[in-house]
Symmetry: C2
Subunit: 126 residues, 2 copies
């Protein structure tokens, strides 16, 4: 594996899916931009707020499907088992500069998570 | 670009996003397996039923974000402008054998499409 961007992306991925969130966040640039399904989030604080609840409350396990990269870009696809959905795959296209992730285009299907929240809300009403 | 799998994946992608569905389907194996957000679909007929309505009814344009591959696997991420959503990105991890796509792991966010159908249904009721 000779892609510097892929090495950073995989180190970040291993850390957060292993629930080592402090380590995971060391790979994220302060001025990171995250384009995720709910919209654009800017800055490391917003990135953390996006990632940590998923990793800590929903994630059971993760398995890499494919990972490629070049000098500045890495593209990952992986599956996750989560509390809301047995299979919740995601893809990330990250841009790395100076050893840190400065941009992440993040794709996943929000529908099972929305349905889970809806079920939880209607359970709370009963 | 030296990845045979990526060449097939990109030829398929260019064809269907260019609305040349007949050409696009020539890159799909008869016994293809498609793991998409709604679940697993098997066979070229089911693949076509999944792809064609999206390409013909919803797709306005597509733009590649990143594409990588090796001998047998290609990983693509692209954005699409669609009628339901101005930005509806997707990722595909395809396995190629004998010049045809035999497996595709397809990720996109179903939520904007579900919301669009819901709006359309409620418009129909008025």
């Amino acid at each position: 594996m000779t892609s510097p961007a892929l090495q950073i992306a995989l180190a970040h991925h291993r850390a957060w899916t292993g629930k080592n969130l402090e380590t995971a966040m060391t790979y994220i640039a302060d001025n990171v931009v995250l384009d995720a399904p709910p919209g654009r989030l800017a800055g490391i604080h917003a990135y953390r707020e996006f990632l940590v609840p998923f990793a800590e409350q929903f994630l059971i396990s993760a398995e890499m499907i494919a990972a490629f990269g070049d000098d500045s870009t890495a593209l990952l696809m992986y599956d996750t088992e989560t509390i809301p959905a047995k299979s919740a795959p995601a893809a990330e296209c990250v841009t790395v500069r100076g050893g840190k992730i400065v941009h992440n285009r993040f794709i996943f299907d929000r529908l099972p998570f929305e349905e889970f929240q809806r079920r939880r809300a209607s359970d709370g009403v009963r």
